[in-house]
Symmetry: C2
Subunit: 403 residues, 2 copies
């Protein structure tokens, strides 16, 4: 299968792990390979309510058998979903647009920001990843693509200790931008800074940073593609931990538990300015099936109390990681909130080895950070204490073996 | 529902028709509204094998219950789908990349073209639509967004009579581009020119146009998002009618019968150059469920002989439209291939009235063209002679009533 894959898929494709995993089945927090071996999934945030959740699959199938059409007819599902999403948001955010992917949502957020402010400058973090489109690839330095001339980078807040350190970096970046003759349209950040290596504390630091961009006449865009849908354990959205109200919120990956559905939520004055000048139609965005699946995901998050579980099990995993940190000096820091955790290790080499050794031990995680030296732990949210014990035990074994 | 919709969805949303349709169910070539009234769908190309096709839904549901994961693990579905797609293509095209939407595919095609050629100039038609991303919105003049400085427009071939007229326009456009100091990276066209008002004949004119861009060192990108998957009745892809081999082929809308799945197929030398400099990962692109759905669609297209039906029923509809043209002078021209037809009317006002009157008569079509004066007829492919008679009868009635 690997040889066939390499023959027909583009050479841009990459596989995880030195020994890639051939996956044939998923259930809850487990993935199964072709030989029936199971792997504890501590990496995939997309299946947020667990792989192949039966109630989500059932509603997907029922809706797909009934109607799947677009938003140029009146249908009830996109309206119901928009209402449900807005109910989770601060009241200042009132306007929903559906897309297919986090990339499409972030790309639209950039378009809207430019039109609403009449400006062109964007601030992103040094290890940011915001999507695959041409515009976003030039705002995603972690991919190695050169940033666009009007995109300025700020050091990610992975190392800060105080609530205003990141805001100071943003202020300095705005000054740098202005001295290059560019006016700031927006500060665009993943509110958990996943690709930067996870930055979570002190909660509130994003409010100070948003105040800086607002003072400079720019917008604050919260990219919730990674932290959204309860993962951080303290509410539905990562920005809520920081007590800040964004101008634009983008979401994607976990929204449909794997079904391609994404959205952008906006303040009405920001969206209104864009709407006066532009239309926007997305063929698949807001289609009946995608919306029904997203509604099912919201129901399961609520019914299974997954936000509470993210907080409680996340705290338990964090505690276990801190215990390991006392025994293994290669662990330099444990960061994160809920079930989005970053473990800062001594080097990229150690991180690569740990990730691959864990895979051999049947536990799937990944690496993150500008230097690739952070373990990224981000399991489906029905991840329980017993699962955490499997992860912590395997990590203990791998670190012990590292010597 | 309309009031609720307007409260929560962004003001960029637009509905079809003076009296919008509230759709609750779809089956085959029919859509049903909340009062149980049915509408013959002569517009939607996305449900290419018919709304809610039971075999597609069944395979969607089965795969969604088994595994839905991404391409950084080995899974069989994307490999099988890539093999199936390549089997429908000229042998020069060997490299597949999956995305979620036609927009993502076209945006990637632009990125690849720039890297592969080291150039920045693009040629699109005056009424082109290629997608919603920032980059593509500036290559989609039909939306009203100003084209980017390095995007040049060429008059669409809706009025040509000879096989080289469009090529001459492209040559002139390349000269215009070069005198502005821009080098051509690619000619990007929808191979049926849907948003331009449908341009289909004389078949072969795209080969001459592609020769022009190749002679200038640029690439030829076939946007198959509209014509692809058999609609033109003479093969799987619109470019095949023209006897041309593109450098890049993009596809989307009908690929998953409404499920968000799309792709880009490339010559290996073009993709290889991009891959040497860039990676590309698309979270939902090539996921197991999307690929299984697309495989199901390909199976149904084959098993139900839908390409043959597009050719035969398309010819029957075209014949009927030509008969109506003899009786109603407001019909100026009938263009198209298979089940993608454009009917040139006398004015935008007449077109708007016909589209709305047909909707009242229970037949759904749309308008197209830079001037909005073309009826766009583009039904799901299981559209049979009996359905054609309903469409033609309703159009006859509407035109008669116009007076």
């Amino acid at each position: 299968m690997l040889a066939r894959r390499q023959r027909v898929l583009a050479p841009t494709y990459r596989l995880f792990y030195e020994e890639p995993v051939y996956v044939v089945r998923g259930e809850g927090v487990w993935l199964y390979d072709a030989e029936g071996r199971r792997y504890l999934d501590c990496y995939n945030n997309v299946p947020v309510v667990g792989h192949c959740h039966p109630r989500v699959v059932e509603r997907l199938a029922r809706q797909a058998a009934t109607l799947n059409t677009h938003t140029r007819y009146i249908t009830d599902r996109p309206v119901e979903l928009a209402e449900r999403l807005l109910a989770t948001m601060p009241r200042e955010l009132t306007s929903v647009t559906f897309t297919c992917s986090g990339s499409e949502s972030n790309d639209l957020a950039v378009r809207i920001s430019k039109v609403a402010t009449g400006r062109t400058g964007f601030i992103v973090t040094e290890g940011a990843y915001h999507g695959t489109t041409e515009t976003l690839s030039r705002m995603s330095p972690v991919t190695g693509v050169a940033t666009a001339p009007e995109v300025f980078t700020v050091e990610a807040p992975v190392d800060i200790r105080g609530p205003t350190e990141f805001a100071e970096r943003v202020r300095e970046c705005i000054a740098r931008m202005r001295s290059a003759g560019v006016q700031p349209a927006a500060l665009l950040v993943d509110t958990i800074f996943g690709s930067d290596g996870v930055a979570s504390h002190p909660a509130g630091f994003l409010a100070a940073a948003a105040a800086e961009i607002h003072a400079a006449g720019g917008l604050f865009i919260a990219d919730e593609v990674q932290p959204g849908f309860g993962r951080t354990g303290e509410g539905m959205w990562g920005f809520q931990r920081h007590g800040v109200v964004p101008d634009l919120v983008t979401m994607g990956k976990p929204m449909g538990n794997g079904h391609p559905v994404a959205a952008l939520v906006a303040r009405p004055e920001v969206m209104g300015e864009f709407a006066r000048q532009h239309r926007y139609f997305n063929t698949f965005g807001g289609n009946t099936v995608a919306c029904e699946v997203a509604l099912a995901v919201l129901d399961v998050v609520e019914q299974e109390r997954l936000i509470e579980n993210a907080r409680e099990t996340g705290a338990y995993v964090q505690q276990g990681l801190l215990s390991l940190a006392k025994r293994y000096p290669t662990i330099r820091e444990v960061r994160g909130a809920g079930l989005f955790l970053g473990v800062q290790l001594a080097s990229k080499d150690v991180t690569t080895r740990v990730v691959n050794d864990l895979r051999r031990a049947g536990v799937l995680i990944g690496a993150a950070g500008r230097n690739g030296d952070v373990l990224k732990i981000r399991p489906p949210l029905p991840f329980r204490r017993g699962d955490a014990d499997v992860l912590l035990g395997a990590l203990d074994g791998v670190l012990q073996h590292l010597g």
